[in-house]
Structures are given as C-alpha cells and as structure tokens.
C-alpha cells in the first residue's frame, strides 16, 4: 500500500499541475507533493530497514528491498530539496509572461520523480527498463526548457544517444529472460525469479547479456565512453533538474546495473563483472580528469565531475568484497548530496552573473558570500577533502582497492589528484577577485536555498561519523547484492 501511495502522489501531482492555470496554486501543489513523497518514501525506507524485510505490492509488480529503500530515500530527499529550491529558481527564471514554461517545468519534474521511483521499486526488469527509458523522455523537454540553440542540441543528443544506449539494455534484459526461461521453463521477467534461478542459467548467454546491460545502463549512468551526452544535457538543464539528473538519475542507471550484476555474479562468479566495471570505472575517471583540467564552463565542470564519481563508484563495485561495495554505496549517497548541492548553487550563480563561463565569474565570495562560501565548501567535499562525507567513502573504496587490485587503485588515485588540481583551480578563479562593477551585492535567492543546509549538514555528519542506522541499512543493501 505504501509503495502504491509513493508512486501515486507524483503521478497525481503531475496530472493536476498540467491542468492548472494558477501559478501560485501550481507551486503549492508541487511543494506539498514533494514533501508528501518524501514523508512516505522515508517511512517506507525505514520500515524496510528496521524490519530487515521487503515490501511487495500489486501482485509482485512492485517490490522494495533494502537496496530499493536506499534509492527511494535518496530520490525523495533530493526531490524535495530540489522542489523547494525550484520554487524560487523558476520564479527568478520565468516571469509571469512565461507561466507556460513554468508549468511544463513543474509537470515534468513530477513525472521525472515518478519514473525514477517506479524504476527502483519494481521487481519486473522489463518495467524497470520502461521506467528508465521514461526518465529520458520526461527530462528531454526539461533540458530544452529555454529552447536556445545550445539547449536544443544538448536535448536532441541526449534523446538519441540515451534511447539507443538503453535499447541495448533491453537486448540484455531479453537475453537474461531467455537464459531464465531456457534454464527453468516458464519464468517471469522478475528480478527475484531470475535471482533464484541464477545458478542454473547458461553462462555463455549470461556473459553476452551482461555486456549489453553494462553498455546500455552504463549510458544512463554516464560511464565513459558512452558519456558524451552527459556534459551537454546536465549543463543545459535548469539547475534543479541538473541537480536531480547528476545527483540521482545517474544512480538509477547504476542501480539497474547492480541489480543485474547480483544475478550475473551468481552464475559466473564475481570476477567477470568486476573486470568490466574496473575497466569502465578507470576509463571514466581518466576521461573526466582530462576534461576537468581545462574546463571553462562551471556547469560542464560539475557534469564531468559526475562522470568521475560514477567511475569511482564503479571502481568500488569492481574492487568488490564487503568494503568495496560498502564504499561504493556510501559514495552514491555522498556524491548525490554534494553534487546536487553544487548544481543548485550553480543555478544561483547563473542567475546572478548570467554566464556559465568560469573566466567571467569573478569575486563570488564578495558579491554573494553565502552562495560563494557554500560553493567552496561543496567543492572541497566533492574533491574528497575532510571533514566531508566523500572523503570517508573514497577512503574506504581505495583501501579495498589497494588490497585487491593495487595497480588499478594507484592509477585511480593519481587521476584523482589531477581532478583535485583542475577543479580547485577553476573554482578558485570564480571565488576571488573583483566582482564586475555593475553587479549588485547580495543573494539572488533567499529562502529557497535554505533546504541546501540539509545537504551540507548531512555531508558534515557523514564526514565525521558513520551513523549506525545508515551502516546497518547499507549492510542490508549489500546482502541484497550477495555480499
């Protein structure tokens, strides 16, 4: 019942926002729906973790275990923060004459949340695929919301590349389904039934299927070399959508990947998927570090940094063992918190300076101290400095890596140093110096950036301690993945 309500709220909200004309009413519904989704999402997640159990609804169509619960918690939390932020942001971006764009924004945001929640709470791998393809369809007009030449190019590229990429994931799903039905007769395309039949699957077919799955869902997760749409789409989308695309949508792609990995590892042993993940992880890190070193656009900088962090998470999954996977899941949380924080702040900077060019943003700390200070703190968190969460999770991942794949870990750490230098140099240019003369002092957005304090507080908490409730939740999620 809880799972049905979780999906129903964003769906109903999207429908009603699409029909309404009154802008303040739309905003109220948007905010209330996001908060209600958060409340129900957290209730569901806590219930699953507390009881170390799973929830099932609609005749096994929906199913949430500890891993789904982690994703639900992330999607609903960041969804709510982005929803509050977007009230202020969209008002500043689209005045009363552009109510139509505002309505499109709020409607599609709710559809976007709905598709992500469906993807992580369904047991049917076919429905999961449909939902993940639908995330692309829901966001493509959001990327092109301003309908400029650049955003059009970004959105079209995103639409075609993601659709083709994810079509490959469907072939992988069909092949897994085939392996399942050949191995044990009539079978549902459910994760639970495939997982139960995993040891009887034809290993050759499974090997082939996983390559398709990895390339297909890897495209959605922004892994190199399938990442080429990502810097464009994530930098052209409105800030709250960039925050959700980088912060949670990439993780939904990874989620689909590890669901299959759990099955594949039973059939083939973990060596096969680990080698592939280490390869894609290292390549993503290398590509991202090269582009981060000379980046001139701060939104693209954040987007490439997402490619980097998805690479780090894949490395954690590839290093494997309890701590490798633990670090990877913890890093999913840390990256989501820090990247969404930075993307929303980048929206505030864009509203103030009206440019995404790093060289034309000067004196951020002076012109708007709050945004500038938070942007600095977020960047420090993102490049992995203490006392913030990503430091801990990267430390755990690379400790596991040094033990299992020393050379991969050493190369990855060297690449992280490059990223560190590149990002700090860029952000440094933005923070200091004289702000342009005609620029007014003070913050553009006031109350709507308040929820970002949640991201900040959680990042600090995760950097100083590991709450036992979270450690326990992650432990259960690892058990789902077979660790």
């Amino acid at each position: 019942m809880i799972l049905v309500a979780l999906l129903l709220i964003p769906a109903v909200a999207a429908g009603s926002i699409a029909l309404l004309r009154n802008r303040s009413l739309i905003e109220v519904i948007h905010a209330l729906a996001a908060l209600a989704t958060l409340g129900i999402g957290l209730t569901a997640a806590i219930k699953v973790w507390r009881g170390n159990t799973e929830m099932i609804a609609l005749d096994h169509l929906l199913r949430a275990d500890a891993l789904s619960a982690l994703m639900v918690a992330l999607v609903t939390l960041l969804g709510a923060i982005a929803a509050i932020y977007s009230l202020g942001y969209i008002r500043a971006e689209f005045d009363a004459e552009h109510t139509k764009q505002a309505r499109t924004f709020f409607t599609l945001s709710q559809v976007f949340i709905f598709t992500m929640l469906l993807a992580v709470t369904t047991d049917n791998l076919g429905v999961m695929w449909v939902a993940i393809e639908a995330t692309t369809l829901a966001t493509v007009f959001l990327v092109n919301l301003h309908n400029t030449r650049n955003s059009l190019e970004a959105a079209y590229k995103y639409l075609i590349l993601s659709s083709v990429g994810i079509a490959l994931a469907f072939i992988g799903t069909v092949l897994m389904y085939y392996a399942g039905s050949a191995g044990s007769g009539e079978i549902a395309v459910n994760w639970t039934s495939l997982h139960a039949a995993a040891s009887r699957l034809n290993p050759q077919v499974v090997r082939l299927a996983f390559v398709f799955i990895l390339v297909g869902y890897g495209t959605k997760a922004g892994l190199a070399p399938m990442h080429t749409w990502l810097p464009d789409a994530h930098s052209e989308a409105p800030a709250p959508i960039s925050a959700l695309m980088s912060g949670v949508l990439l993780n939904v792609g990874l989620y689909a990947l590890v669901r299959f990995k759990a099955i594949v590892d039973i059939t083939l042993g973990s060596g096969y998927s680990s080698r592939l993940l280490l390869g894609f992880g290292l390549l993503s890190l290398a590509v991202a570090s090269a582009f981060l070193l000379t980046q001139r656009n701060y939104k693209r900088m954040l987007a490439y940094s997402s490619v980097e962090h998805m690479g780090i998470i894949c490395l954690g999954l590839g290093f494997g063992g309890y701590w490798g996977v633990f670090g990877a899941l913890l890093h999913v949380v840390n990256h989501a918190l820090s990247k969404s924080l930075l993307f929303m702040l980048s929206g505030t900077i864009l509203l103030k300076y009206r440019t995404t060019d790093i060289r034309r943003v000067r004196g951020l700390l002076r012109s708007s101290p709050l945004t500038g200070g938070a942007f600095l703190a977020g960047t420090l968190a993102l490049v992995g400095l203490p006392p913030f969460g990503p430091f801990i999770s990267e430390f755990i991942i690379f400790r596991a890596g040094i033990e299992s794949n020393t050379w991969v870990a050493v190369i990855a750490i060297a690449l992280l140093v490059v990223v560190f230098a590149g990002m700090l140099a860029s952000v440094n240019q933005m923070l200091y110096g004289e702000p342009p003369d005609k620029l007014a002092r003070g913050e553009v957005l006031k109350w709507s950036i308040a929820p970002l304090a949640v991201n900040f507080a959680l990042l600090v908490v995760l950097g100083l301690t590991l709450p036992s409730a979270l450690a326990d939740a992650l432990k259960q999620a690892i058990a789902v993945l077979g660790g």
Binding site: W129, A167, V174
Partner: protein, 219 residues
Amino acid sequence: MFVELFPKLVNLLASLALGTAFLLIARRDLRGQVRLFAAQSFFVSILAAVIAVFASSAELFAVALGLALLKVFIIPAILHRAVSRIGLQRAVAPYLGAPAALFVCGVLVAIAFYVMAPITSSNPLPTADAVPVAFAGVLIGAFITVIRRRALTQILGFLMLENGIFLLALLATYGVPFIVEIGVFLDVLVAVLIMEVFIYRIKENFDSIEVGEMGRLKG
C-alpha cells in the same frame, strides 16, 4: 505441413525485414524512407502473427496487432506529417556514401552471426536460427542513426533498431511478457512524438534538419 514450413517462413520474413534496412541505406528521399520503415514493421508484425498462430498464443497475437497498428500506420503517419510540414529537403550526402555504407552493413551482419552464436547454439526453439538476422537489424539501425545527417533519418534508424529488438525477443523467447510489451510500445510512441517536436524545433532554429549543423557544444 505448417510445422515443416514454419522455420522457413520465419527466416524469410526476418530476412525481408532486414532487407528493408539495407534499402533504407541506399534511399535518399524521406518519404521513401518512411515507407521502407512501414514495410519493415509490416513484415515484423506478420512474423509475430505467424509465431502467435504456431505457439497458439492469443496474447502474442494481440501484440502483433498492436505492433501493426502502431508501427505500420500511426508512426509512419506521424512521420509523413513531419515530412510535409518541413517541406521537401534537398538531398544531403550522408557522412558515408551508399556503397561504403552497404559494405559496413555486410560486416555488421557477419558480426551479428558471430555475437549471437551462443543463442543459436543453445536455443531449442525452431525460430532460433533467425536470431542473428534480428540482431543484424539492431546493428544496422544503430549504424543508420550514427551515419545519417538528417534528424528524420536518424529517427528511422532508431525505429528500425527498435524493430530489431522486438524481433530478437520474439525469435529467442516468443516475446517478452505482455505488460512489458505494452510499456515498450508506449515508450516508443512517446519517443517518436517527442522526436517529431524536435524535428520542428531544429528546423526552426537551424533552418534545416541537418544534425551536422549542430556542433557548438564541445569540451
């Protein structure tokens, strides 16, 4: 009689479907390309209906009807409307000429047979022999999406890729469950409607539907 003929009929229809993808490579005019896609969808839905009769599956027959309705009539109608609205386009040379592209397609077919070997060798179904043909259709669809400059032809490449995947699922497992099929149809329809809007917006902004004109986002 039907049981003996069945694998041959399947192979024939699958090969016809693949043949239309080859023809699309050689064809320049947009309306002809749309008609080729409709023809391919027609062969695929007939194939689905034949398998539905053979496997006596009412569900699969419904899927075949749905496919025919969506991909032989509705989507081609949408695309023909798009062609009329953007007006006749002068012929644009693709990134790769037709002879070279056809050669690549030949190579892709060989690759498809190689990659899908584990499926054909392990699959007891009488339709399994045609699985590589379906996968070749997927690869050629992806290839068309990459080498063509016009947005509409790219979309046709994507749709042919979708047809190939449907065919693959059909031949390897007699189709995926009904609910998934419905979801996929819905996604494809929405994707085509969105792509249609993009054709208009690209035309409006760049004054042509050549994707090659776009290239500002780099680095």
